[in-house]
Amino acid sequence: MMPCALRVAIAEDSAILRDGLVQLLVDRGFVITGAVGDPAALRSSIAQNPPDVAVIDIRMPPTFTDEGLRLALELRARHEGLGILLFSQYIETRYAADLLADDATGIGYLLKDRVADVKDFVEALERVAIGGTALDPEVVTQLLGATRRTDSLSVLTTREREVLALMAEGRSNGAIASALVVSEGAVEKHVANIFAKLDLPVSENDHRRVLAVLRFLES
């Protein structure tokens, strides 16, 4: 249990999923400040009871298209420091580009499927809440697939490419180490190699690092 429980607001129009999320997060010791089904309700819930992080479904009433995304951009502009985890049943790379346009702090974009792995999901949520980044592996895969920098990427070893992908997801060195079952020192060495090979500015800060990697892949 964390010393100070994170406060979470949820906007998800499917009642069954909303209830499940509440159950899961309460079980994990989070405080739910509001669980609502549409953008307007989330706005008023946040105004009354500000959370640390908001979990937002992309497709919500009234038009069931990209309400969640627009709401996320709006909330980011209005509430500084509010973490936002967008939650969707499919990945649109364009949405990710919109979200990460100028800043990757406190942003997450995950497939809904990820809640099945409770631990990973909760970790991602915590990361976003404290200003980190959580991009779905699917987003990273799409970015890697679409990038024109294949020449530069080809100089990376297989392991280095795995580390790059995990960095792009927004994971810390520690998380990367445990995901690849290697030591943190080994990860640090890989990261240094990657930055050197790709000629990226070295940064200790995780979310700056994410941004650098994403810019590289998008350019």
Partner: protein, 464 residues
């Protein structure tokens, strides 16, 4: 010779023998009305409007045919050069213009409202314009109209116009003296009565009277003869100057195709929505619960078995609900019941309907799968409407083969007052059905007076 008896019996004496002709009250009234109409006709506006139309449109047609004919002959003569083809194209395009004037005249003077044909669309560049002009079906049909209309106008002049003329000539003749003053009788009357009996040279009073009476007969006959000519012209205008039946058909087909594409796009969207909101959410929640249960089981020392059991229970229930939802969605895409034939599928629908439903099916052969599917969805949607909106206690569905058509009738004893635009639970409801039915050249009609009953009839072609 004709006298009317008290019991509306008309006795006719022919050659000394009396014949009795029993006329019913209605026949007698009709006879009187017809007589009155014939006597009044020359003094109403219509024959004069028709006469005016005859002259004006005839004049336009003669000018048109002269111009089109001269340009066309010139064009054909010079056809080996580009110049000749250009003249020929111009000729066809001008025929379109003359046709348009004739159509406009018919609309203005006769109230004959023939729709304008599709406008000329020239392709890019001179060659494109040339090709489009030479292949302009509307233009060529107008050439055909002019070629038919001019001989018809000439014949009309010899018959109908001359009858008008003779009517007045005969009426004036007895008053114009014996030595040939006044307008001459020269037209149809001279053909019917050869030897020119219309010139008076002392035949006496009765001869003059006979000519005068003949004038009256002509006066009352002339409007009808002229109408005959004008009506044939109307037919020609409708057939040759209206929209090209082939182009109209193509347009209808294009519309139907667009509607079908739209309808299938809407269907796909609906299915995606159903999957997204229903099954996918169900499965995510299910995976989440199993994930939670798995985590709880990992820590062997402090397993909260009660909580794990709860989670597994919920996951189990969720899985069953997801299966049921998937089944419904799959049924919306293609009803499995149709595999056993339309009759069986309709029987399932009738049995499942919330309102008690009687079904009669009379099919000699199995329709095509497309028609079966449309028939099935029509009945499904209509029965759903009956259950939702009609407040009915019974519904009757019949499905029968009538010649080359499959006729579906869904009738309920509800409150009626249904409208095509308002019926249906969603926009993809009855409007969507109408689109689907039109897509296969079928018809959907709705009769629903306030207070009921509501009867929806769908006719689908069995052979496309």
């Amino acid at each position: 010779m004709v006298e009317q008896a008290e019991d509306s019996e008309v006795r006719v004496r022919v050659g000394g023998r009396e014949m009795s002709l029993a006329l019913s009250e209605e026949q007698l009234t009709a006879l009187k009305a017809a007589t009155r109409r014939i006597l009044r006709e020359p003094f109403t506006g219509r024959p004069w409007a028709e006469l005016a139309f005859y002259f004006v449109s005839g004049g336009v047609a003669v000018l048109g045919l002269a111009f089109v004919g001269v340009t066309m002959v010139t064009g054909v003569a010079l056809a080996i050069t580009f110049f000749g083809l250009g003249i020929l194209a111009l000729s066809v395009r001008s025929a379109r213009g003359f046709g348009g004037w004739n159509r406009g005249l018919a609309r203005a003077m006769l109230g004959e409202d023939v729709e304008d044909p599709e406008p000329f669309v020239g392709r890019h560049g001179f060659l494109g314009w040339l090709q489009s002009s030479l292949r302009d079906r509307v233009g060529w049909r107008a050439v055909g109209y002019l070629a038919l209309k001019v001989p018809w106008t000439v014949l009309g002049f010899l018959v109908a116009v001359s009858l008008w003329w003779d009517a007045f000539a005969c009426l004036l003749r007895p008053f114009s003296g014996s030595n040939g003053g006044g307008p001459p009788v020269w037209g149809l009357a001279r053909v019917v009565f050869p030897g020119n009996p219309f010139v008076f040279d002392g035949q006496g009073f009765f001869h003059g009277l006979a000519v005068f009476v003949l004038g009256f007969v002509f006066l009352f006959a002339a409007p009808w003869v002229m109408r005959g000519f004008v009506n044939v012209d109307r037919l020609m205008i409708r057939g040759l100057l209206g929209p090209d039946p082939m182009a109209t058909r193509v347009r209808t087909l294009e519309q139907a195709r667009t509607q079908t594409v739209d309808a299938s796009a809407a269907t796909l969207r609906r299915i995606e929505r159903d999957l997204h909101d229903g099954t996918q959410a169900q499965l995510v929640a299910l995976a989440m619960r199993l994930g939670m249960a798995k985590e709880k089981l990992e820590d062997a020392d402090t397993v909260d078995l009660v909580r794990v059991r709860e989670l597994v229970d919920e996951a189990h229930r969720g899985a069953k609900e997801a299966i049921a939802e998937l089944r419904d969605i799959a049924r919306g895409i293609h009803p499995p019941a149709l595999d056993i034939g339309l009759e069986g599928a309709l029987a399932t629908l009738a049995a499942r309907s919330a309102v008690p439903t009687d079904l009669t099916v009379d099919l000699r052969a199995r329709p095509t799968p497309a028609i079966e599917a449309i028939a099935y969805f029509c009945v499904a949607e209509l029965l759903a409407n009956v259950a939702q909106h009609a407040h009915a206690s019974r519904a009757i569905v019949s499905c029968a083969q009538q010649g080359t058509w499959l006729r579906l009738v869904v009738r309920d004893d509800g409150r009626g007052g249904a409208e095509l635009s308002r019926l249906g639970s969603t926009s993809s409801g009855l409007a969507g059905l109408t689109d689907r039915v039109h897509a296969v050249d079928g018809r959907l009609t709705l009769v629903s007076p306030g207070g009921g009953p509501t009867v929806v009839t769908v006719d689908l072609p069995l052979a496309p």
